[in-house]
Symmetry: C2
Subunit: 444 residues, 2 copies
């Protein structure tokens, strides 16, 4: 049986472990941190994730979907909060029943590590830091207790995240295209506690306070808390929010009065005093994803994206599923599969990266504009009557496994149809009106 | 006196050494290779460089301009070779007298190392490979004979080229934007030997054989040879040019018959058999250029570009000059200077990077189109009569020190003026014609 070396026991790494374990292949999985199941506090990325179709189907393929979704909170719509905190607008995500699921990152990761560990052919190596991959010698270089160790295998799956050490060691690989771009906005996470042992706000929606240049969101957790995230330009964090406690509370009072009323001012101040810096958001694109038929980049290591489409994890999970679909197509030929994976996946990854960046603007501004809302309603209405022949952009991304690049192609086709329909209607009115006038004044 | 640690004794590194030596600062310059003055064969980048205004002014500032330019070959125009090798078209670079200078890379580098060594406060450390910079400890980590050494100083100038190890060690620095993009084309260098002890072709021009998807160029050397470079897509190299000797010669015969007649077929075959692979061309952009007031990226480490505007070295040399101008402006305050340098320079670097990529297309196609040639002539004509009020794009880049981003602004203004002038003339003809007709038929 081939040996798979997986770098990183995060979400994508541990899902990969389960996939390959079920194939009966030998799996070594290296994680620089301790086992998160034994850690008190896990540093790093945001707490909440929105699980949607692509992620669910990948979990389904390893029999974990129901277990996971049962431990999340369904979200059926965006709920837009007005500036005075008194008016709300509901924007459904799709047709009745279509929803995404708010999941706790740590819980999900723990479940998957435990699942992978059930297989005899999987070995987790915690506190093993992978520094680089040597493509010539075909080994992974690992540092454990300050000592270098070398591991060899048939394939390396680099699932070591946006700051992937494996990817960094490949930067000088011939014709490796790469870009990392930070956006102007950073984020800080806050918390809304339960109220009378229940949710302090409606749980089954994605709460959104769009304020132009900055935005607050809140996602429910199963313990009746909400994770609240403030996205704002670093300038604003530095000048307004990390400056004095008074200005900070005033800022929340002015912009998110209803959210503030559900958090203690002490909590807000403690969070901002503690974090000291907002977390940055990076968008990473690269090509190819496969190197010398030996290393495959997956998840954030291949395509970290800004979080505004809720597709980072879903896309990473779909990577795992697609790799396995391709290995099946290629009858287990790993070399062929690695090449096909890279060719088939990079363009989709670039596309969802761009879409996420586009949604960055949408969340800030567009959700409040008339044209955007009209199109959203029109799309859902056409979808209701035409079904799959007219699936809105957001629904194609979130509720289907349509390859991301096809999603954008379909959307462009829809835009064309709407444009020509508009012209057609305008032309019809013009012709009809003219005919009417000619008839009235010249023939009558 | 402050201590400057320079990483890389290439063109930009050694020029920097001279600049800081003249300031009286202490300079340590680390070079992973041996002293190139003692090497038989220097691997790496292309042989020829085109020195123009920005590079010359930087050399002038350290008193090396005349010495260098006297050891180069002036080029006053592009000479376009037709496909049958019988017709030639001359496209002057600027006004009579304006020219660029073909320089040998190795010679230039040797001169500058020798110049820097004249100063007591400069120490060259050859065979010292810098692996990384530690921003927290403010040290440069160097490997010499397999052993790690640490050097500290007041500032690190990373002049270690497109594949900069210093830059790589900063990849995870907060909010460091970076991209590397390889183009579809690679290159291979050939050689035309002297004929009857003289140049085999006209020396004082830039020879160009544009053939759409691939291009041959030739630059004269002072020893009466020409360095010939073939740019072509990697596909073509792999299929046509590295395949059989017959097909390769046929390819040259079909596309560059006059160039082939000046090279022995054996030479062509030897070169292609020897190199085995075409060299890749990468475009690198990043931001910021300064980290923790300690590390400054300069030259290709900050902005490697494709070679089609002949600005790679010139931009790198101008980096050195600009840094020194800023240190003077800031009265020797290195911290302020480092910040100002980054803020002032990154946008210019991105701009020339884009212009070089644009010229990649120009060299392939546009030089042969009527519209391009007409605009080129019109620009030079307006320049002749309007002087500095109308400097063509190429001339602003090549014959002035106008900041690159201003060059593009000026060009956009020129485009606007030409557009409105065209509209004005068309409008004038319309109005005049109408007046004439009205007068002729209704009033007469």
């Amino acid at each position: 049986m081939p040996t798979v070396l997986i770098v990183g026991a995060g979400l994508v790494g541990s899902l990969n472990a389960v996939f390959f374990a079920r194939r009966g292949w030998d799996v070594n999985i290296f994680e620089q941190r301790d086992d998160i199941r034994t850690m008190e506090h896990v540093p790093g990325r945001s707490i909440n994730l929105a699980l949607s179709c692509r992620g669910k189907e990948a979990l389904e393929a390893v029999g974990l979907k129901d277990y996971i979704t049962d431990r999340g909170v369904q979200m059926h719509a965006r709920l837009i909060h007005s500036k005075d905190g008194k008016r709300f607008e509901r924007q459904p995500y799709g047709q009745p029943g279509e929803h995404i699921v708010s999941i706790n990152r740590r819980h999900l990761n723990e479940v998957m590590i435990t699942e992978a560990e059930k297989y005899d052919n999987v070995e987790f190596l915690f506190n093993h830091k992978v520094c680089k991959v040597d493509l010539r010698k075909k080994v992974v270089v690992v540092v454990k207790d300050g000592e270098e160790k070398f591991f060899s295998g048939d394939v390396v799956l680099a699932c070591d995240g946006a700051y992937s050490a494996v990817r960094r060691s490949l930067m000088a690989y011939p014709r490796f295209d790469f870009s990392q771009e930070y956006i102007e906005h950073g984020y800080v996470e806050l918390n809304i506690l339960p109220k009378n042992d229940g949710f302090a706000m409606e749980p089954n929606v994605f709460h959104l306070w769009p304020r132009g240049d900055f935005t607050l969101i809140a996602l429910a957790n199963t313990d009746c808390t909400f994770t609240v995230t403030l996205f704002a330009p670093f300038d604003l964090f530095e000048k307004e929010l990390f400056d004095t406690e008074e200005r900070r509370i005033q800022f929340f009072q002015d912009n998110f009065p209803d959210a503030l009323s559900l958090m203690s001012k002490d909590h807000v101040n403690q969070v901002f005093n503690r974090v000291g810096n907002a977390s940055a958001l990076v968008s990473i694109k690269c090509k190819p994803f496969t190197f010398e038929d030996f290393v495959i980049l997956m998840g954030d290591a291949a395509h970290a994206m800004v979080p505004f489409y809720g597709q980072g994890m879903n896309c990473g999970f779909e990577d795992c599923l697609i790799l396995h679909e391709i290995i099946n197509e290629e009858n287990g030929d790993l070399v062929k599969a690695a090449r096909t994976y890279s060719e088939r996946r990079w363009n989709d990854a670039h596309t969802i990266n761009d879409l996420a960046m586009y949604n960055y603007n949408e969340l800030k501004h567009l959700v409040n504009t008339r044209g955007y809302k009209l199109r959203k309603k029109l799309d859902l209405c056409l979808n209701k009557y035409l079904g799959q022949r007219w699936t809105p952009l957001y629904s194609m991304v979130t509720f289907t496994r349509t390859p991301y690049h096809k999603v954008v192609e379909n959307r462009k086709r829809q835009d064309q149809i709407l444009k020509w329909t508009t012209y057609g209607i305008a032309g019809g009115i013009l012709v009809g009106g003219t005919a009417f006038l000619v008839h009235k004044y010249f023939i009558d």
